[in-house]
């Protein structure tokens, strides 16, 4: 792809992304969200991050990849426990990475 075409592509993706991010803020600039939409909104964050996490851990190129002897899901499990107990993002990522390195030595 030529550089000019690439710039156009990136600008287009940037514009689409910005429109998405502004869309609902713009549409509901002067009125309240309908009640059902506001109720749904409460679950947007948990659902989005669960889907992002699950696909980052178990999906590769459109295929579900899960193996019991793969270190990453187990390291993620350790990280979840730390996250749940401490609520500390720093500790979660630190312990998760450390667990991955340890598990790679063992598994």
């Amino acid at each position: 792809m030529s550089t000019a075409r690439l710039i156009l592509l990136l600008a287009a993706v940037g514009a689409i992304t910005y429109l998405f991010r502004y869309s609902m803020i713009g549409i509901f600039a002067n009125r309240n969200l309908p009640v059902w939409l506001r109720d749904l909104c409460r679950y947007i964050a948990p659902a989005s991050f669960a889907a992002l996490t699950a696909s980052a851990l178990f999906v590769q190129g459109g295929q579900v990849v899960a193996a019991l002897d793969a270190p990453k899901p187990w390291a993620a499990l350790v990280a979840v426990m730390v996250a749940w107990r401490t609520g500390n993002v720093f500790a979660t990522i630190g312990v998760g990475m450390a667990s991955l390195y340890l598990l790679k030595l063992v598994l």
Binding site: Y18, A51, V80
Partner: protein, 249 residues
């Protein structure tokens, strides 16, 4: 006047502080993007520029991967667009909280509405809501002065700055990071850490579980539609589970 100015900065700094730990996951993400984009043949200056233009990690990574596979412009734009479709939901989710702001603020905060900034800002807003509900407040306009948009701005700004710097760092040092370090693993760990903060009540847990299962069930859908489908499934399950519990006390 001086009082409000310093409160604004306190809010801004609190946002920066709460966003900071997440940068452990953002930095590798940004560096991975640079490495991938360079490998796909993108000029370095354009790699850096794209991080400001697009400012969306997963879409940028997808663009780099598809360029490397010599995909056409239209499929790439479609995939990146669909990957970012979830931002429409984020936009709906913050709409009520930013409505009272001047337009320039809404335009700015929309630009900064990324996964990690959204998660931290929405946690703050929802915590405030919960605290006010517990205090018997009916949910009318919040007490003045309301400076929470400065907190949101602090989150967004921290992430933005870090994203630009980590893109640059990837351009400079990316080639020297050994694959065995698995720095890419920091990305799902960040999402995990955010997720656990977000699911403290049972309807949210149901939503998260359904969305996670959905992400695996719908993984095969074309054009990355699986992610959006999974999130929508999570929304419906969370919504109905909350309804069901209200109906049977």
């Amino acid at each position: 006047m001086t009082q409000t100015t310093s409160s604004k900065w306190l809010e801004f700094l609190a946002g920066c502080r709460d966003e900071a730990p997440l940068q452990l996951g953002v930095v590798p993400f940004g560096m991975l993007y640079s490495i991938g984009a360079l490998a796909a043949g993108m000029p370095a200056w354009l790699v850096q520029l794209s991080s400001a233009l697009v400012f969306a990690g997963s879409a940028q990574l997808a663009i780099a991967q598809m360029l490397a596979a010599s995909a056409g412009a239209l499929p790439i734009a479609l995939t990146a667009g669909l990957l970012n479709l979830r931002h429409v939901l984020y936009s709906a989710s913050v709409a009520d909280y930013v409505r009272h702001l001047p337009r320039r603020w809404r335009l700015l905060l929309a630009y900064l509405l990324t996964d990690e900034a959204y998660a931290v800002a929405i946690l703050r807003y929802q915590r405030d809501d919960a605290a006010r509900a517990a205090a018997g407040d009916d949910g009318g306009p919040p007490p003045r002065p309301n400076l929470r948009h400065w907190y949101f701005f602090g989150c967004g700004f921290t992430l933005w700055a870090c994203w630009q710097l980590s893109t640059a760092a990837g351009l400079l040092f990316g080639a020297r990071i050994p694959l065995e370090w698995d720095i890419d693993f920091a990305v799902p760990l960040t999402f995990l850490a955010l997720l656990t903060l977000l699911i403290r009540e049972s309807a949210s847990q149901a939503a998260a579980l359904a969305a996670a299962i959905g992400a695996l069930l719908f993984a095969g859908l074309p054009h990355n539609l699986g992610l959006v489908a999974a999130i929508l499934l999570g929304l419906v399950v969370g919504f109905t589970s909350a309804k069901g519990r209200r109906a049977t006390p």
